[in-house]
Symmetry: C2
Subunit: 492 residues, 2 copies
């Protein structure tokens, strides 16, 4: 059965470019009638199960690995990571403490150091075999990393203070920060949450002056700055907050400073993108998800801290039944919310060795170039505008000067076709389409096909909505006639 | 490479009974010198990686799937679940919302209903296609389920109250509850945590009178009862709190009532054990881990709630970029801490179909019988005592009437041999060994070998510590001569 599954996986992977739809054409409830109401009493065959997977389940799949999947951010699958997960699965080793799985702890420390060096992270973030105050840990998701960072922040802020001071704690980020910031504040029970406005003027990056002013106002009001989160590569537009300047603005406030680079953190492997990460030496914690763009199958969120003390203060209890063996050099259960944890570092070990750093850098540059090709098409077509500068693999764009329902209709038309999958966001109140390039299978032809589809759908919705359609189209054609690689050109 | 990995997995699985050691003989830092300090620049072969896995990593593995792994609770691996995970991996579908992976949401609802029926759970816990107020959700771990339940409790308790009331909230459980209860309270910032004492007199079960008195005292003091957690099968001794009576004692207090059956919950598949779960119809939420004893590879914690409203109140934000499509019948991101999530229900689908309910019940009964065989040996040997009644697959035992260091020496001698792996706990201040039967590979011969090892090691440590060794051994032999299946008999 394992051999058959391997072959089916290879077949599925090869079929990705030719799948008729990226996102499914199903409605809520589509599966309910197709399944029996109860589990069977007697065993059924693998073949019967796989037949139902094919006939009943697959029609409801969003093909995240399709080369024409441009929604959200990518969720990379790679064969090295898949092989590692197969091995990790049969070990079934729940390495919450060193004693429960020594190699899980030791390899995680080593891989977090390998990755720290590949990304040019500050030395204080390295594990060095568990010796130092800092180190890296694999969390499940960025949401968990942010909660953990916030809990460490809270523990540090409340040390030596009366209990009631927890009502005075304040957390700061940009209004462009991922929603997990706000959710973490809800989880930790933070009553004062500042989502400081970022604007198009600064490409949606949070400004240090805004942070400084907010902190000063809160301190003057008797509140306690506790946590600041900056983003490198926001979800909406891949905005990059100026980490060094923000850290300087928060310095002296006592607040814990976390940097979330969930998607864009992979780009730190590229020297030419390293400047986006300047200032990490001045922050308390940093995290990004190799499970997004770095070929490490979900889940794998890498988080580093300069000092793990407050983390353990917030999360460690070490009950007696876990103190089974001596020599617990580093127990990762004290660095995370759950007790149980998988042997996830094995994925990074297989990936980093079987790809090698050079090939990983090429891989990332390839996607950035593909997104650049699409952005160029957008920029060259006067019907459209780039809603933000292209950064990394993300292009934010919209039809220019039309009511929002026209852009919404454009997205709906594209996704209804099933041939590609995008989502939208809001930037400054404007309905904006996002094209995120990052599937391992994506090639230039798929991005070109995406532009052709966008351009054709634009013709259609502009016509349907009668919004200066003729004028817009005419303008588009004029430019197309003049410039190579334009929208009209790509349509042909 | 996939085919080679499948063969290696099969070989490893077959080798489990004959491995020389269950837990490794390594020291912290063992791996550091064996790995290069940096990731390679150029790709390395799968063969080279697997050679290092064999030579460098495997010596640091705890073999959780070994038939002689009796530590913690089991972490079951099964081939159906492994096959499902391979398929889930290549899909790489992050189904945080219905739109991001319709089949992930729909199958999860269906599997949670299948499992609810198999366990005889109350109808209010069923998803019914997302229609009802209640439903089931797959969390990563029990720790996360308890945090989520506590956050729902807090949201419900604080609704309509002033913010400062969060300082008055109280959480209750037994001092035998899993440490994740206390950790959840730390995470949620609960200042008042009552770990009510349970005693040997009641087989370590929390008594309703104790809960009622604690709630009344807190209410009288102006505090607000917020959360009660009962346990079915504690980690130390598999104690079973009387859920129905505890729920009655807490009724009217307004507190959210959660039941944690992390390990023992699988036993709800067995009609003859269903009485341990009586009273679930009166509680707010319930969770257990199929990834422990129900052959569903880590991670898979199944959680049900009677009303998902407070959960969503505590955890939902729904930012605009996730509102991509219409018809989000149920978005599981609002039922959990992380945003991202795997297609984990596929494991349950493969498992439940390829085993069938009858075979799963036999599987559970098999382990309970094996634990029973071991408990019988303990009970028949006067050197030993059972520290708690055998429940499910767990036997708690110790040398009778000896200083605690002698029992500690017994455990150390057993684990040093490497032939089996156990851990200890504290029960009423007494050092107690735990033998948890639950690896899928465990058979009677392995439990008999474990008893032989325990008995022989007892001879050794009693002699070494000179603690009434002669007398104890003599008493042991007397009984052995009289009764079949005794300690001395198993030693021969």
């Amino acid at each position: 059965m394992g051999h058959a599954m391997v072959d089916m996986i290879a077949d599925y992977y090869e079929s990705l470019p030719s799948l008729p739809r990226v996102s499914p054409d199903v409605q809520p409830g589509f599966l309910r009638g197709a399944l029996p109401p109860n589990a069977p009493e007697q065993p059924e065959s693998f073949e019967a199960v796989m037949a139902d997977v094919r006939d009943k389940l697959m029609p409801g799949v969003v093909h995240w690995q399709s080369p024409s999947f441009f929604a959200y951010f990518p969720s990379n699958y790679s064969f090295p990571a898949a092989l590692a997960d197969m091995w990790s699965s049969v070990l079934g080793m729940v390495g919450f403490s060193w004693a429960a799985g020594p190699v899980a702890t030791e390899l995680e420390m080593a891989m977090m150091d390998w990755l720290a060096d590949l990304c040019g992270l500050p030395p204080a973030f390295k594990c060095n075999g568990g010796a130092g105050p800092g180190g890296g840990v694999i969390q499940g998701t960025t949401s968990e990393a942010v909660v953990v960072a916030l809990l460490a922040a809270r523990a540090r802020a409340l040390a030596g203070r009366p209990v009631a001071d927890r009502l005075k704690l304040v957390a700061y980020s940009s209004d462009q920060a991922h929603s997990c910031f706000k959710k973490a504040c809800m989880i930790a029970g933070m009553d004062h949450v500042r989502l400081l406005p970022a604007s198009a003027e600064h490409d949606w990056a949070l400004q240090p002056e805004a942070l400084k002013a907010a902190i000063e106002a809160d301190v003057a009001a008797g509140l306690i700055p506790c946590f600041v989160m900056a983003s490198v590569g926001t979800t909406s537009s891949c905005a990059v907050d100026p980490v060094a300047q923000l850290a300087a603005a928060a310095a002296g406030s006592g607040a814990w400073f976390h940097v979330d680079a969930a998607y864009a953190g992979s780009a730190a492997l590229l020297p030419e993108h390293r400047h986006h990460f300047a200032g990490l030496g001045a922050v308390d914690s940093y995290s990004f998800n190799p499970h997004k763009w770095l070929l490490t199958n979900f889940d794998c969120c890498c988080m580093w801290v300069a000092d793990s003390g407050p983390l353990k203060e917030a999360l460690s209890l070490t009950p007696v039944f876990l103190r089974a063996a001596a020599g617990n050099s580093l127990d990762y259960k004290d660095w995370q919310i759950p007790l149980g944890r998988k042997f996830r570092s094995l994925k990074l070990y297989f990936l980093l060795r079987m790809y090698g750093a050079e090939k990983l850098r090429s891989y990332l540059r390839h996607h950035i170039a593909l997104a650049g090709a699409f952005a160029q098409q957008v920029a060259a077509d006067p019907r459209f505008e780039l809603a933000a500068p292209q950064r990394f693999g993300l292009v934010c764009f919209r039809l220019r000067g039309v009511p929002r329902e026209v852009n919404a209709a454009l997205l709906a038309a594209l996704n209804a076709s099933g041939r590609l999958f995008l989502i939208h966001t809001e930037l400054g109140g404007a309905y904006t389409l996002r094209l995120a390039v990052g599937a391992a299978t994506s090639q230039l032809e798929h991005v070109q096909a995406a532009w052709a589809a966008v351009s054709a759908a634009a013709d259609q919705v502009l016509a349907e909505h009668g919004v200066a359609a003729a004028a817009a189209a005419a303008a588009g054609k004029e430019v197309a006639a003049a410039g190579a690689g334009s929208g009209a050109g790509a349509r042909s």
